[in-house]
């Protein structure tokens, strides 16, 4: 198939790629950028493991997105959450509260949580349940994931206080 040149900004880095019409964002991120933090799961939108964030900080499924549709756009993957060599508060909360077990769904779960927190910085239980319903996790039973999400706000405040700059 014919290749097209497209541009994509991933985690702040803009690059050009040669893709064909069949390639999805997931293919570009994993295979062309070698950002393997984003996992390939069911490829049909059910498991949420390939979740990334769009430019608005919303959770989207990279497996269901034709790459060419997003020519010129910007996305964030799990690798893009860290800043200045520091884990993001939600990543830190996942570690601290034991919300990680096997770790395979973790990137998708965290990117879903991140999007949830972008929309609702202090989410209600109902918002957490609905925000996290798009991802599958067999190991954790979701309890400590929810605990991490509930504590993200506190960690973020503390972090802001430490560095002297609130967010």
């Amino acid at each position: 198939m014919a290749k097209h040149i497209m541009s994509l900004t991933v985690n702040g880095d803009t690059r050009e790629f040669a893709v064909d019409d069949r390639d999805t964002l997931l293919d570009v991120i994993r295979n062309q950028m070698a950002l393997t933090g984003t996992k390939s799961g069911c490829n049909t939108g059910s498991c949420g493991i390939c979740t990334i964030n769009n430019a608005a900080g919303e959770a989207v499924l990279s497996c269901l997105t034709p790459a060419l549709e997003w020519d010129g756009e910007s996305v964030t993957t799990i690798e893009g959450l860290e800043a200045d060599g520091q884990l993001d508060a939600i990543q830190q909360a996942f570690v601290e509260f034991g919300a990680v077990q096997c770790g395979f769904c973790t990137p998708g779960v965290i990117m879903s949580a991140k999007a949830l927190l972008n929309k609702y910085p202090q989410p209600t239980e109902a918002q957490i349940n609905e925000g996290m319903a798009g991802v599958l996790c067999r190991c954790t039973g979701h309890i400590k994931v929810k605990e991490a999400i509930r504590n993200d706000f506190r960690l973020r405040i503390n972090k802001g206080a430490e560095s002297g700059s609130g967010r």
Binding site: G41, I78, F104, N129, R138, C139, G141
Partner: protein, 768 residues
């Protein structure tokens, strides 16, 4: 909450500690098999049977071989003599026995070419008569799945302990129930995948998620006539296993065969619905449970007659059953038990074990039945369980000696915490008409299982670096359970340093010492003891040097908080790192490397068992059959909680999985094919359904466990399965004969029971 019997002086163990590989996993840096990309790697794809029982009359691969970009095509002759299990060829040659069986495979330069090549393989089938259910398979004139298994029965084993006939004859009452558990999938997040590099004839390298690199190494060596250490297994991170990654499957062998033929590394990975064909998990199992009791509530004997659906190649299944019956004798002081398991072949996916082994099904039946018995006898089920529960020091029927046992304490703890006495028999429907129920489950789980595999062996190495940082080498995989962090904590406790000063190297058989692997709940106790011994060995080596420097006897030294000091004079001290540096750079150059080994002291089975009790509370919507699991109180005797945070995480996951298996998960079959092979239609719940969980970790300090620890890997799931099933049964007022108790089935049972309430008599309550 951690409930301690006796405190021992510990400085690292017992603290809530985030897992050491957490930062790697939350940042996306953790590597899984699909992330591996070797130079020149090809994509492997498998052609699978589309018929449940058929003779392959033609298999022409010439067009596929001619396709540019195809580097290897293999069929049955390429895999001659390679068996996934006793009677399961790596590639099927003549007669295929289930949909999805491997018929051929290709390796090509990219996925599109590989997929195109599969389409070019010309297969013709001669359809043979088939059987897709146990019932059909056991009919006298049923089509035969395997000529080697007359009557479609592949094995029929019975384990008997005590005099069953006598116990049943002497008992006042005999209760009998039929119970079914439907097929499931382990549904780990990481799909089946394997990367093989067999480009050198004398070295096979495999990257794959696994529960045991040791067993994989042996299976590959046997298949390819290599010596064990000519096989290198790298297991990286493993994305969940749940009893589903214990053995080499056809796709693993196929990856190696393709690599050998193409002389390039090959990656084989399952796609969405393929995942449901590659898995080996629980099939459609049926149980008849007979329990003999006296009127005073004493349970005398249990007789289980199990008919297990082995699917197309059920040879592995009969082998696992021994523990399923025996574990009933680990919770109640019985006079006798019999566990018969007949494995029947059908034209379905081959089945082995699911999360919780087979025990989640048997316990969901048994706990419901015990509830039914208690109700009939007018007893409180918890009192009746306490009456029958075994105690510390109990001698079991197959020679077990329970050196630690907190079963009664667990039962009493959840009884009190859940407010059982105010709830059982007194729950009234909610204002919006939901039926409420409360149930109790108990269970026990062996930590380790010699006999289930030939050896129950773990070895470990502890290397002390010159800077005082320590590396633990272990062969046990971490599939998410947190074993590697547990090992670091154990080594840190022995050496008196921080767990974060320890780096765990695992998952590469070229480097790491032998370890049978992570199943039968053996990690904490077997590998844990090996690591403890290795750390002790390293500590002894350091102590010799430290004692010389401090001019005291080694017996006087204490290792604590990164220092080595004299017990009676703590001011006389040396930093740990200074001793390790001094050891290496002394004139003698004593490089500190501890070696440790552990195997169970018994000839068969294990020497340590966990115990648990749980109470579950449910609300049932009688109009839709929806079961809302409100809360679960969990008490688990894990011996010692090495890391309470990880123990809770294990309990969370198992309560979730038990809920999921008892209420939701089912592979819906139609004529030998699944109708719901996807993460959407296979109804594992998401975040919404998880109930509140309250934990009580009962520390009984087992004499065999490292620092008293036993297991928390599969004990809680079995208990939870029983408690949840019993709670639904309590809400409905009757025995539910099948898991999963999906909303449809619960509604159906609600309707049935509202018309004819259970008589609670000893006779069978349900028809299959």
């Amino acid at each position: 909450m951690v409930v301690k019997r006796a405190d021992i002086d510990l400085s690292v163990i017992g603290q809530r500690r985030p897992r050491l590989d957490g930062p790697e996993k939350v940042s996306g840096r953790a590597q899984f098999t699909a992330d591996i990309n070797l130079p020149g790697m090809l994509v492997g794809k498998i052609l699978r049977s589309r018929h449940k029982h058929a003779r392959i009359t033609k298999l022409d691969t010439s067009k596929a071989e001619a396709l540019p970009g195809v580097r290897a095509v293999i069929t049955a002759p390429d895999a001659k003599g390679i068996w996934a299990t006793q009677n399961e060829p790596a590639i099927c040659g003549e007669v295929t026995r289930y949909i999805g069986e491997e018929l051929a495979a290709v390796a090509a330069i990219d996925e599109a070419t590989a997929v195109r090549a599969l389409e070019l393989i010309d297969v013709e089938y001669e359809i043979l008569p088939s059987v897709t259910t146990i019932r059909e398979a056991l009919k006298p004139d049923a089509p035969q799945v395997d000529p080697g298994a007359p009557g479609n029965i592949v094995s029929d084993n019975t384990d008997t302990y005590g005099d069953v006939e006598d116990a049943f004859a002497k008992a006042d009452l005999v209760f009998e129930d039929k119970f079914v558990s439907r097929p499931t999938h382990n549904l780990f997040a990481e799909f089946h995948a394997c990367v093989a590099d067999f480009t050198r004839p004398d070295k096979l390298e495999i990257w794959t998620p696994t529960q045991s690199s040791y067993l994989f190494q042996h299976s590959f060596a046997r298949a390819f006539k290599l010596s064990v250490n000519q096989v290198r297994i790298v297991h990286l991170h493993t994305g969940g296993a749940f009893s589903g990654r214990g053995s080499v499957r056809p796709h693993h062998y196929i990856a190696a065969l393709l690599s050998r033929k193409a002389r390039r590394p090959v990656k084989v990975a399952a796609s969405g619905d393929e995942e449901f064909l590659v898995c080996r998990t629980l099939g459609d199992n049926q149980y008849v449970l007979r329990t003999a009791v006296d009127r005073d509530g004493r349970v005398r004997a249990i007789d289980v007659n199990a008919t297990l659906d082995g699917g197309g190649q059920g040879h592995a299944l009969g082998y696992f059953g021994w523990m399923v019956g025996l574990c009933m004798t680990w919770i109640m002081d019985l006079d006798a038990i019999r566990f018969r398991r007949q494995v029947v072949l059908t034209n379905q996916r081959p089945n082995y074990l699911g999360h919780g082994g087979m025990m989640i099904g048997t316990n969901a039946g048994l706990m419901q039945q015990l509830l039914r018995i208690a109700k009939y006898l007018g007893r409180d089920p918890i009192d009746m369980l306490l009456q029958n529960a075994i105690e510390e020091g109990h001698h079991g029927m197959s020679g077990e000696h329970f050196a630690s046992c907190g079963l009664k304490e667990c039962i009493e703890t959840v009884r009190d915490a859940s407010g059982w006495n105010d709830k059982y028999g007194k729950l009234t429907p909610t204002p919006d008409g939901k039926l409420r129920g409360i149930g109790v489950g108990i269970g026990s789980m062996a930590a380790g299982a010699r006999g289930a595999f030939k050896h129950d062996t773990s070895a470990a190495m502890v290397k002390v670096g010159e800077d005082g940082l320590v590396t633990v080498f272990t062969g046990i995989p971490d599939m998410g359970q947190g074993t590697h962090t547990t090992m670091a904590i154990i080594a840190a406790e022995v050496l008196g340093i921080k767990a974060t000063d320890i780096h765990v190297v695992a998952g590469d058989t070229d480097i790491t010492p032998v370890d049978v692997g992570a199943f039968a709940q053996r990690g904490t106790i077997m590998t844990g003891n090996a690591v403890k011994n290795a750390a002790q060995d390293a500590r002894d080596q350091l102590a010799t040097n430290a004692a010389a420097a401090l001019e005291v006897d080694v017996e006087q030294l204490v290792f604590r908080n990164g220092e080595i000091f004299v017990k009676d004079n703590p001011e006389q001290r040396l930093p740990f790192s200074k001793v390790s540096f001094g050891s290496l750079h002394s004139k003698e150059g004593r490089f500190v490397m501890g070696r440790g080994f552990y195997t169970t002291p018994v000839d068969y089975g294990t020497a340590a068992w966990s115990f648990g009790a749980q109470v579950a509370e449910v609300e049932v919507d009688p109009e839709t059959g929806d079961v809302d699991l409100v809360k679960v109180w969990v008490a688990h005797d894990c011996g010692r909680a090495i890391n309470p945070l990880a123990v809770e995480g294990q309990i969370d996951g198992q309560v979730f999985s038990a809920m999921s298996q008892v209420l939701f998960e089912e592979c819906v079959t139609d004529d030998g094919q699944y109708l719901n092979p996807s993460r959407l239609e296979y109804k594992m719940p998401r975040a919404y359904e998880m109930p509140e969980v309250e934990y009580f970790l009962i520390e009984t300090n087992d004499p065999y466990g490292p620092f008293g620890a036993k297991e928390v890997g599969e004990g809680p799931i079995v208990v939870a399965g029983g408690a949840i099933a019993a709670a639904v049964s309590d809400a409905l007022g009757g025995f539910l004969p099948e898991i999963p108790m999906t909303s449809y089935k619960v509604w159906r049972e609600c309707t049935r029971l509202s018309k004819s309430p259970d008589r609670s008599g000893p006779e069978a309550q349900s028809e299959l």
